[in-house]
Symmetry: C2
Subunit: 286 residues, 2 copies
């Protein structure tokens, strides 16, 4: 899915937030914005939004020397989500269908996205459980995904944001862990989870954990490691979390189920589901 | 009031909306955005937001040749507001204090602002009467303004957006028209009112009507005509409508009452009043 002009204000907002979180120096912040605007004026816009976002992240890293500006925010989000584990367990234990309940938790957790949204509050995170249980789930029948997981020998789960990973963990606990590989980003990208974040969420306890070798807030295969690409190409089934993975893989012909919250008008239009909704989507014709 | 980095995403949004309203050609729209981003990467950011917005408007005009891309939208907004005249008259007739009721109408009408907001719906316009009567009015006591108007020999009223001008007219009808001069923009600037728009709203029937010689969506004196500057400097009292006039004149030491709706976090912080509120403000120390 290529960026549209309406992505540009959103990317400038992202750049500003990253600039502010990376340095307290107003003149440095201003210089960062000038460089990001100049980059956006010249760059190839016929790419997915996270590919353009990666260029912004690179500029800010090169100017500030800060490798992972969202490290502290990511830790706070992970800690807030970990505190909710007992409540998640109660929900799963009380559920007639723990697979669907876990799936709903994982999708609802995708609200912890600082790329698509400017700020994630404590209320956003504490509201996830309620949203997971009460919002309608759009798209493909969860039974289809369940059947495909049962049939598959290997499942690749593409994680998205730190904190959200705790909700992923509860879903992954409902799946046969021995056939699951979870992949996170290979380098910091906004608040996307890296290996450290995934371990802090306990994802390494429920599946094999790898990174994709890339610092794009998405899954752009050409930017991923050869090792990751091999796994991606040879896995029976892929479960891709979040808008970034959807934006970068929606044209792929791999066997992918997308799990995400719709967070902007463009993805609403592209996917056919309203902003805010929980979506499980296997694009038709695959 | 100078722009802050948080103005940049908003200015890019404005640029995109102006690009889309000016041309249907996607490659032209993209080229416009590239030029606007490049301009913003280089321009002096230590200016008020509407001064930066004027540069964007100039780029789009020069690339498309379209002098007034918002003409149709402005006419629709004016027509929608004119339809509400009978209801406005009922409100004023039923009011114990028509000065304050008219003032409230004029301020509530400032929601018709395509610079600060992406879209103004029919519901926004039809909701103005209700908001005018029920939202709290923050800032300076209206009695102070009334006393100053009574005392002044000359009052300069700086109008803002087309459509809003109809609400201004109902306020101006409560004032001594012979001492009032209403100034509008001298050239098209987003959906700000020009002479044509002001006449369509009937402003010429309630006061002397002039333009300021400038196509900035604000009042930047250095960009205004010599004639306007003379009037500005020699008038006893200035009433300035809207955020753009506030952003450009908040540091002026002229005798100005600002009337506006707060439409963004930055103006909320600068003025001290919450987003959405109706404000009558004479900055202290004048």
């Amino acid at each position: 899915m290529n960026a549209e002009l309406e992505c540009l204000p959103c990317l400038v907002r992202q750049a500003r937030e990253a600039a502010i979180i990376s340095t307290d120096d107003p003149s440095m912040q201003k210089n960062i914005m000038r460089r990001c605007l100049a980059y956006m004026s010249r760059t190839n816009l016929d790419r997915s939004p996270p590919e353009i976002a990666q260029g912004i992240g690179r500029i800010i890293k090169s100017m500030t020397g800060i490798e992972d500006p969202y490290r502290k925010v990511k830790s706070l989000h992970t800690a807030a989500a970990l505190e909710m584990l007992p409540e998640m367990d109660r929900i799963l234990a009380a559920s007639a269908d723990p697979f669907v309940a876990g799936l709903r938790l994982a999708i609802a957790g995708n609200i912890i996205d600082l790329g698509a949204r400017g700020k994630v509050s404590d209320e956003d995170i504490s509201g996830i459980l309620n949203e997971a249980m009460h919002l309608p789930l759009y798209g493909t029948d969860p039974e289809e995904l369940k059947t495909e997981i049962d049939r598959a020998d290997s499942v690749l789960y593409l994680a998205d944001n730190a904190g959200e990973t705790v909700f992923d963990r509860k879903f992954l606990e409902q799946l046969p862990g021995e056939k699951i590989t979870v992949a996170v980003r290979g380098a910091p990208a906004i608040n996307d989870a890296t290996l450290d974040d995934a371990r802090a969420a306990g994802l390494d306890r429920v599946a094999r954990l790898i990174d994709n070798g890339s610092g794009t807030p998405a899954t752009v295969l050409s930017d991923c490691s050869e090792e990751f690409r091999q796994i991606f190409e040879n896995t029976d089934l892929i479960i891709a979390k979040g808008q970034g993975n959807y934006e970068s893989l929606s044209s792929s012909d791999a066997n992918i189920y997308f799990l995400f919250r719709v967070k902007c008008d463009l993805v609403a239009e592209h996917s056919g589901f309203p902003v805010g909704s929980l979506v499980l989507l296997k694009p038709s014709g695959r």
